[in-house]
């Protein structure tokens, strides 16, 4: 049994604004994402636009229990539920499956700084660390750090309580979340899913992880396709993207207006070596079936990291020559977990608008993981 999978709701926030129209406006204007070059100088980030949290997270107590990465996700999830027209359908939400792609965090920077300043002078560093953490950590901070608490907060705030699962693993987690949800719907293992992720790039502790490997792009903003000569790198971006995926029969039965068909999601992970990422992506194109470049659109998740971006470009030049190409890295920066869901959201809105009949959405994760989705006009 194979069922068609429709995208029936999109919720997205990024530096470009709130909602899919704001993202499309930037695409149409050829406008890259807004950049903050000051806050974490010399590092760039794409900061998310200010949001009126209470529009999707009515209770202040709920807002306080979350850190930014979770609030962004809960907000975008609410937008997606609104867009699908199911926000108030308590019975449906009670059976809605949820797959989140999530990292974690966040730190209490003041506590961390005090501990790090005090540790070298402490007579007994172990005892000192315990004393400070026991005394200074907010008990609820843990819940703002736990990966699966993005999903937990979506359950609490929006009443989504079918079953919740959280995938981790940077860009790849977003690919796999969509891949598994699509496959489960197609195989009749569920009718309707909320799938997506969120990321807060405006945090020194996440910049740290990528700075250790020298992967952050410095200097003035440049397109991901034009960073190779200067060593490449990515600009982290804050944002969130959620999609409502639904079996065609389920969507039709409730009279939902579909946005696009999620025809295919493939993913692979190969050991990275020169040429390996490109080869894996090429393999995913081969498995995905036909892509009509002449009437097609490519939404690439290329990060801007030199070698793998060049490898992806070569594959796209060969496989999708003639198709219009949009790089989500130029628009959103790299949002890690929600990057692929955001790319699929953009592709769905563009094919619905008539920009293309079919879109290929790619992911070549900064460290690992390759993905490819085909989104089609209904």
């Amino acid at each position: 049994m194979t069922r068609e999978v429709f995208i029936t709701g999109i919720g997205i926030v990024s530096n470009l604004g709130e909602g899919i129209e704001a993202q499309l406006a930037a695409v149409d204007a050829g406008r890259p994402g807004s950049v903050d070059a000051e806050r974490f100088k010399p590092h760039l980030v794409h900061p998310v636009v200010p949001l009126e949290w209470e529009r999707q997270i009515p209770k202040k107590s709920d807002q306080r229990q979350m850190e930014a990465w979770q609030r962004l996700g809960v907000y975008a999830a609410g937008l997606a539920l609104d867009d699908a027209g199911i926000k108030e359908d308590k019975a449906l939400l009670g059976n809605l499956h949820l797959i989140c792609a999530a990292g974690g965090g966040e730190r209490d920077y003041q506590v961390d700084s005090q501990v790090l300043t005090g540790l070298p002078q402490a007579a007994d560093p172990g005892a000192f660390l315990n004393e400070r953490l026991m005394g200074d950590l907010r008990p609820t901070l843990f819940l703002a750090q736990l990966s699966n608490l993005l999903a937990g907060n979506i359950s609490i705030v929006h009443g989504v309580t079918g079953a919740t699962r959280t995938f981790m693993g940077e860009e790849q987690a977003g690919v796999d979340a969509l891949r598994i949800a699509q496959a489960r719907i197609a195989a009749d293992q569920g009718d309707i899913f909320l799938v997506g992720g969120s990321y807060n790039a405006e945090r020194p502790d996440v910049l740290l992880v990528y700075e250790m490997a020298g992967l952050l792009w410095k200097g003035s903003f440049a397109s991901v396709w034009e960073r190779q000569a200067k060593g490449g790198g990515f600009v982290p971006g804050s944002g969130a993207a959620f999609l409502v995926l639904e079996a065609r029969d389920h969507a039709e039965a409730r009279g939902a207006t579909p946005i696009a068909r999620l025809a295919h999601v493939g993913a692979d992970q190969v050991r990275r070596a020169p040429g390996a990422a490109g080869e894996a992506l090429d393999g995913l194109f081969a498995k995905a079936g036909s892509f009509d470049a002449a009437s097609g659109l490519v939404v690439s998740g290329a990060t801007g990291i030199a070698d793998i971006t060049a490898e992806e470009k070569a594959v796209l030049d060969r496989r999708t020559d003639g198709a219009r190409r949009i790089a989500t890295g130029d628009l959103f920066g790299n949002m890690l977990e929600p990057q692929f869901p955001a790319g699929v959201a953009l592709a769905a809105a563009l094919v619905k608008r008539g920009d293309a009949r079919q879109a290929a959405v790619t992911s070549v994760g900064h460290a690992r993981g390759e993905g490819l989705a085909l989104v089609e006009r209904i």
Binding site: F40, Q65, L98, A102, G103, G104, Y109, D112, S113, L116, T117, P120, D124, G126, N130, L133, M134, L137, P139, L141, F142, L143, Q145, L146, S147, N148, L149, A151, S155, I156, V160, T161, G162, A163, T164, R165, M168, G169, E170, A173, A183, R184, A187, Q189, P204, L207, L208, V209, E211, M212, A213, G214, L215, D268, Q269, R271, A367, G369, E370, G371
Partner: protein, 427 residues
């Protein structure tokens, strides 16, 4: 080939053909089973780090496995490696480094730990003060490149994939304390879809470090009855006062029944059913009426094509927190009815502590061993019965019993409820 085997819902049957386990009780099924059925505890005083100023000073750490650098992801990887080696070896599937199926990996959320922060602060130091600017300066020296990969969320799974040659995109997942069960569930679903003939499902957790322990301690989730350590975890007892953190890993080779039969594999048991239900009540507490846990148990039993009367034994989540054990008992009584008073239910956590991300997978292995060995591991430290929990908790001493079908419960923070049904035979 003969007509393919199907379950009552018309789906491929899923069997387990290999299992591996590491806990504070030892490495491997044989050592663990011997300790578990002898009622021996693996909980002890923490020696890995200073415990001054802590309210809880005990845990079920696995101290016989080394990792470099010593941190949760590296330790979790080592546990997973050992458990997977045992499981894949027993299954005799594929060739070394070429496992013919997908990987589903429950791993603890990863982040940089204090020793690494201290090293970065030292490298980036300008004056006496240290803040994140100092750490970023340290990171920019280029001396810590390897730590980038170490502290990515997907790295443990990627390394296991490299080692065992699992196929496709490995899924790293967290559903908090039900993660291990979710890894198995994802594998079962992939086999039922016909996407793969085999899957390697792993749950691993090596995150007993100062900050992790303090986080649970600040939520008042841990037992503070430190002395004697082996008596602190007392699920279902009236004087239970919290869980004890534990470490370990388990791996299961899941396989399409027909695929296993065709290659002459030894069948260790069936995974007949999976059930899950979210709970939007509270971030750490379960719905007081237990409705989501009840729904998850019922769904698992129905998914297995069984009725509650078919369940012979429940491998409890049984954390030893006042709230969980009460809710779980109430939930079991609701699902099983009056018969529940005679259905044995025991908690492995009384001996190995709460292995968090790994718990669902470790307890799956113990559930299947219970079926295979015909012996139920006890709930130890059961000295003060709780009159509100009128259950047969297999107190203190293992019991011989013919067990054909086991319900294994896993519940977690964030409204996670996942239940699995294991059996000796198809329904």
């Amino acid at each position: 080939m003969a007509t393919p085997h199907r379950d009552k819902h018309g789906r491929p049957l899923v069997v387990v053909t290999g299992m591996g386990v590491v806990t504070s009780l030892g490495e491997g099924k044989a050592d663990n089973w011997a300790a578990l059925t002898a009622g021996r505890s693996g909980i002890h005083r923490i020696s890995r780090f200073a415990t001054d100023n802590l309210r809880t000073t005990i845990a079920g750490t696995v101290d016989f496995v080394a990792a470099e650098p010593f941190c949760a992801p590296a330790l979790s990887e080592q546990f997973a490696l050992r458990a997977a080696s045992e499981a894949v070896g027993q299954a005799g599937i594929g060739r070394p480094g070429d496992f013919p199926g997908a990987l589903f990996m429950a791993v603890p959320p990863v982040e940089m730990e204090w020793p690494q922060r201290e090293a970065l602060a030292e490298a980036g130091k300008r004056n006496g003060e240290a803040d994140y600017g100092t750490l970023l300066a340290g990171a920019g020296t280029g001396r810590f490149k390897a730590w980038h990969e170490l502290f990515l969320f997907g790295t443990v799974a990627a390394r296991i994939q490299d080692r065992f040659g699992t196929k496709g995109s490995p899924v790293s997942l967290s559903t908090a304390c039900s993660s291990g069960a979710t890894a198995i569930q994802l594998g079962v679903e992939a086999i039922r879809r016909g996407e793969v003939s085999a899957a390697l499902a792993i749950g691993t957790d090596g995150s007993v470090n100062p900050e992790s322990l303090i986080r649970f301690s600040l939520l008042s989730a841990l037992s503070t009855q430190n002395d004697p350590p082996e008596e602190a975890a007392k699920p279902f007892s009236k004087n239970r006062d919290g869980f004890v953190m534990g470490e370990g890993a388990a791996a299961l080779v899941l396989e399409d029944y027909d695929h296993a039969l065709a290659r002459g594999a030894k069948i260790l048991g069936f995974v007949l059913g999976c059930g899950e239900k979210g709970d939007g009540f509270h971030r750490t507490r379960s719905s007081p009426d237990g409705a989501p846990a009840i729904a998850a148990m019922r769904e698992a039993i129905a998914d297995a094509g069984l009725t509650p009367d078919d369940i012979d034994y429940i491998n409890a989540h049984g954390t030893s927190t006042p709230e969980n054990d009460k809710m779980e008992s109430m939930g079991c009584l609701a699902v099983m009815g009056e018969r529940m008073r005679d259905v044995p239910i025991s908690s492995n956590k009384s001996m190995i502590g709460h292995t968090l991300t790994a718990a669902g997978a470790i307890e799956a292995v113990f559930s299947l061993l219970t079926i295979g060995e015909g012996r139920i591991p006890p709930t130890i430290n059961y000295k003060v019965p709780d009159p509100t929990i009128p259950l047969d908790v297999v107190p203190n001493v293992a019991r011989d019993a013919k067990v054909g079908r086991v319900l294994s419960n896993s519940f977690g923070f964030g409204g996670q409820n996942t239940c699995l049904v294991f059996a000796a035979e198809p329904a």
